[in-house]
């Protein structure tokens, strides 16, 4: 692994990596020189020959530098040898013909070699053609062969004799019957294809490693085999995925699409099972750990994306709240927090405003879209506040415990589509209020301890909605029962030997 670090810090690679940047200068300059020459000859525009000479000079200089940097870059290895060879000679050709074109075009040489002028046109023509061709080879080296025309639409596709469009390489197709799937071909290879082979295949094999074929994967690259069958923990390809993303040896490199936890689990499992080439899932031992990852394959996409389990409201994209409004709310004594960096939903709490009243609810109007967690517990609000609360469409958690609200208030929450948590501990809410909200689509839990809700209503609603947690707490009797739980502990003797 150290070899990577050494290469990275050496001058050759440092300069080499400027090749893709420098190379655009000769491409642009030469095309401009050629275009100006065409325009000049047509007489459509007045271009002095000096301008063309000047541009040609810089074309030749920058082409020379691009060649040098390109050579240094090629030393870092990992490119298809034939394609690289073509690219190099065409690139050198560009530089040579650019110099030739400049020499014959410039005044001094014209005197020494009067016939030279005749080779100017062929020279600039060859330089331009070579530029286009070398540029295309360069693109193929970087992005992989066929990148340019991969998405050619019909009918041009058939006319050009290209094969039909392949499946989107960044997407993994769902597998209908996971048990019958061939582990390598249907599960492992698609993961490698979407995340690894862009840099580790025939046209570009960084670190001399190719991951597009099982035999080559087993053979490995300059750091040894990519995996050790049966030992995922000691396999380089797994170890690298598990390194912190900032680590220089982490794969895929920082900024590239990363493997999901499930995908790493699947690859590890395949290696642990001996990395078979043609076994089906049903022929291998399915461990507990890999079960969820396998199950997620039926959904396709980026198998088991990590956000799959977020409740609906957190994936909502709402517009950003006005900074001035938030500032006003904070000045009024409310706590306003943005829920997370990738969305604009807000959490608002009146914990420092025990005197918060129904009237002050008006303050929240401008952020009605954004409020998702609202904490008004222990404040002076009454049922009147619910007229406003019911207009917060994305509300998902509501704390109104230790207030004087009643059934009339809480019943107004009914239309809220995302409300999953209601806390009415120590309020005047009763059975009617509980029953009014119990059927709400998103409601997961409602806390009714020390409210006017009766035990029979709690059990009735509990039976009717088995997935809803209706939490009533302890009273004297149940607390006394709990305290008894420890009575037996002292009696037992410790004779386990």
């Amino acid at each position: 692994m150290h070899s990577i670090l050494l290469q990275d810090s050496s001058w050759a690679t440092f300069i080499g990596r400027f090749h893709p940047a420098i190379v655009h200068c000769p491409i642009g300059f030469l095309l401009i020189a050629a275009l100006l020459e065409v325009g000049r000859r047509w007489g459509k525009m007045a271009v002095s020959e000096n301008v063309v000479v000047f541009i040609l000079l810089w074309s030749a200089i920058s082409a020379t530098f691009a060649c040098a940097a390109g050579y240094l870059l090629s030393l870092s290895g990992g490119y298809d040898a034939d394609l690289l060879d073509n690219h190099m000679w065409k690139g050198i050709g560009v530089a040579v013909f650019a110099w030739v074109a400049w020499l014959v075009k410039s005044d001094k040489l014209q005197k020494a070699m009067p016939a030279g002028k005749r080779i100017f046109l062929p020279a600039i023509l060859i330089a331009t053609v070579l530029t286009l061709s070398a540029g295309h080879d360069g693109g193929s080296l970087t992005h992989g062969a066929g990148y340019l025309t991969q998405y050619t639409p019909e009918p041009f596709r058939s006319l050009a004799g290209l094969p039909p469009v392949k499946a989107e390489p960044t997407e993994i197709k769902p597998i209908a019957d996971v048990q019958q799937a061939v582990v390598y071909a249907d599960i492992v290879q698609p993961i490698l294809q979407t995340k690894c082979t862009q840099c580790h295949s025939a046209s570009k094999s960084k670190g001399d490693l190719r991951m597009d074929q099982l035999a080559l994967l087993a053979k490995g690259g300059e750091n040894g085999p990519a995996f050790i069958a049966g030992k995922s923990a000691e396999s380089d390809m797994i170890k690298r995925c598990l390194l912190p993303e900032n680590d220089d040896d982490h794969m895929p490199p920082k900024g590239k699409p990363q493997l999901t936890t499930d995908q790493i689990a699947l690859l590890s499992w395949w290696i642990d099972q001996g990395a078979p080439a043609d076994k089906k899932v049903s022929q291998l031992t399915v461990s507990e750990a890999v079960k969820p990852a396998l199950a997620s394959l039926t959904k396709g996409g980026n198998a088991g994306s990590d956000q799959a389990k977020e409740p609906g409201v957190l994936s909502l994209k709402v517009p950003k709240a006005d900074e001035r409004v938030i500032e006003d709310l904070r000045k009024a004594g409310l706590i306003v927090n943005t829920l997370s960096q990738d969305q604009n939903l807000l959490e608002i709490s009146a914990v420092n405003l025990p005197g918060f009243t129904d009237k002050q609810m008006e303050l929240l109007k401008p952020v009605a879209q954004q409020i998702t967690w609202l904490k008004l517990g222990g404040t002076a609000i009454t049922d009147a506040a619910f007229a406003q609360i019911a207009k917060f469409p994305n509300l998902s958690k509501l704390h109104v415990e230790h207030t004087t609200i009643t059934d009339k208030g809480i019943a107004q929450l009914k239309p809220l589509p995302y409300l999953g948590y209601i806390n009415v501990v120590d309020t005047k809410v009763g059975d009617a209020g509980l029953k009014a909200v119990a059927g709400m689509k998103a409601l997961r839990s409602i806390y009714v301890w020390q409210s006017a809700v009766t035990d029979s209503a709690v059990s009735q609603v509990g039976r009717q909605y088995p997935d809803l947690l209706v939490m009533n707490g302890f009273n004297e009797a149940t607390a006394a029962e709990f305290v008894k739980a420890g009575d037996t502990s002292d009696v037992k003797e410790l004779k386990n030997k």
Partner: protein, 491 residues
């Protein structure tokens, strides 16, 4: 008292002299240049966050599942083999010599030579729908089995109490790093302006071995450090007014002191002065709020009974009840320490039989009551309860100095111990990780201290690799360069 106030005002005036003017003109220019050069050294970056800024939260990477934390640390380290990690095989090996493979290349705090294996001392059974293994040491915890996620293959790097406690709470076995609670308040801010965001309560007769550094703020501004409250008598010493001092007088006094401090800050720009100013203001507000929140006399009797609280006694049970009251009042992080779990077998109190049973008798009921109490108030969903210690205990019986101990005891053990979490976005009724048949080494789901810390931060909404603080020219994080979120335990 009037004299005191006058004296303070006088001092304030004395503070501003012509010399000050000349000084600040001279220093000012130099400081301007120096300040930009030293920018990366810490204090100036820190200044942004000190003072009133403590209430401000940094926007987390993910929506937090755990908004508050109650971290129960059993200092000294209880034996996982008596409480949660059921090893029937160990019964057969009881009294036999420890296999050589367990001893090769290993270091222990006290074990020497070849120790004997020690069978489990508790009676185990499975509890709850989840079938969690627990012993008769913890009969109350059995009743909340389905709220808990166990981490059964925890491991650490340190075999002495103080460094192991530091590693557990600050991510480093050496002094100087901020604790988990300090990071939490730094990240999510402090909500209740009348209470500190990070409160520490200790019981068991002694402070944690690593001292106040386990709840310190390290290189974070010191506003983020844990504030330790006493559980008997005045919760915070010197916060109540002495006789003859009324609240108005106190207010004027603090205003005068803060005015002097502000001027000093203008002179020297030490951000710790801002901390001092905000702490004076906080202390003034705490005079009202702390006695109220720490007063359990208004709690109904059956709640006191559930926890097993005897009013006026600063016990662990009392601390559990206070922890609930504090999170109910939106305190971000409550840290409980209970000392006396170091069961070497050296004395009647420190062993894994009667001594450990006694510690469990004092703590099992309040911990279970805390979970139930949080649950019925709707607080458990957003409050992460963490229970654990700095390490575990060996499957071998301790043989300190080659002698047979007077009681059944076990030595410190790094390679396998159990912790558990409840609420705050972890799975209900789940167990992660397994140890080998003798409970010596984790075989599945091994979780390092840094992995646990990464997971806790993740539950609070922070990506532990991105949640950093610049100090001395580099970005520091709680998990240093390690840690991997244990996704399996997240609900």
């Amino acid at each position: 008292m009037e004299n005191l106030r006058k004296e303070l005002q006088h001092t304030a005036l004395l503070h501003q002299t012509r010399r000050h003017f000349l000084q600040s003109v001279g220093f000012g220019l130099g400081a301007l240049g120096l300040g930009t050069m030293l920018d990366s050294c810490g204090p100036s970056a820190a200044a942004d966050h000190a003072g009133g800024e403590i209430a401000k939260s940094r926007i987390p990477q993910f929506a937090p599942k755990a908004k508050r934390v109650i971290y129960i640390h059993m200092a000294g380290a209880p034996s996982q083999l008596e409480l949660f990690d059921y090893k029937p095989e160990l019964v057969k090996y009881h009294g036999k010599d420890c296999p050589a493979e367990f001893l090769e290349g290993k270091k222990f705090a006290f074990i020497q030579g070849v120790p004997k294996m020690l069978g489990p001392q508790g009676h185990f059974a499975q509890y709850g729908q989840s079938g969690a293994w627990m012993s008769d040491y913890v009969p109350y915890l059995q009743t909340v089995a389905d709220e808990i996620t166990f981490l059964k293959a925890m491991h650490t790097d340190q075999f002495n109490h103080a460094p192991a406690q530091l590693l557990m709470h600050t991510g480093s076995p050496r002094l100087g790093r901020p604790s988990l609670g300090a990071w939490s308040v730094y990240g999510l801010g402090s909500e209740n302006q009348n209470l500190p965001g990070f409160i520490v309560l200790a019981s068991g007769g002694q402070q944690p071995d690593a001292g106040k550094s386990v709840f310190g703020s390290g290189f974070l501004p010191s506003v983020y450090q844990g504030v330790q409250c006493r559980t008997g008598g005045d919760p915070v010493l010197y916060v109540s007014d002495p006789n003859g001092m009324n609240r108005d007088m106190r207010k004027q006094t603090i205003e005068a002191i803060n005015e002097i401090n502000k001027q000093t800050y203008e002179d020297v720009k030490d951000p710790e002065i801002l901390t001092r100013i905000s702490q004076y203001e906080m202390a003034f507000r705490m005079q009202m709020s702390v006695p109220e929140v720490m007063d359990v006399s208004k709690e109904p009797q059956f709640i006191l009974d559930m926890y097993g609280v005897k009013p006026g006694k600063g016990t662990f049970a009392m601390n559990c009840l206070l922890a609930r009251k504090l999170v109910e009042n939106d305190v971000r992080f409550v840290q409980l320490f209970d000392w006396g779990w170091d069961g070497h077998g050296t004395s009647k109190d420190h062993n894994v039989e009667g001594g450990l049973r006694q510690k469990c008798r004092e703590s099992d009921q309040p911990v279970a009551a805390l979970i139930k109490d949080l649950k019925m108030r709707g607080l458990l969903e957003e409050t992460l309860v963490i229970w654990g210690a700095e390490f575990g205990r060996t499957p071998m019986q301790e043989n300190r100095n080659g002698l047979v101990m007077p009681f059944m005891g076990r030595d410190h053990h790094l390679d396998a111990f159990t912790m558990w979490m409840a609420g705050g976005g972890v799975k209900q009724g789940f167990s992660h990780g397994e140890t080998d048949e003798l409970g010596y080494y984790g075989t599945k789901g091994r979780t390092h201290v840094h992995d646990l810390q990464a997971t806790i931060l993740h539950l609070m909404g922070f990506d532990h690799e991105k949640f950093t603080y610049p100090f001395q020219g580099r970005n520091f994080r709680l998990t240093d360069t390690e840690g991997k979120v244990v996704k399996e335990v997240i609900a």
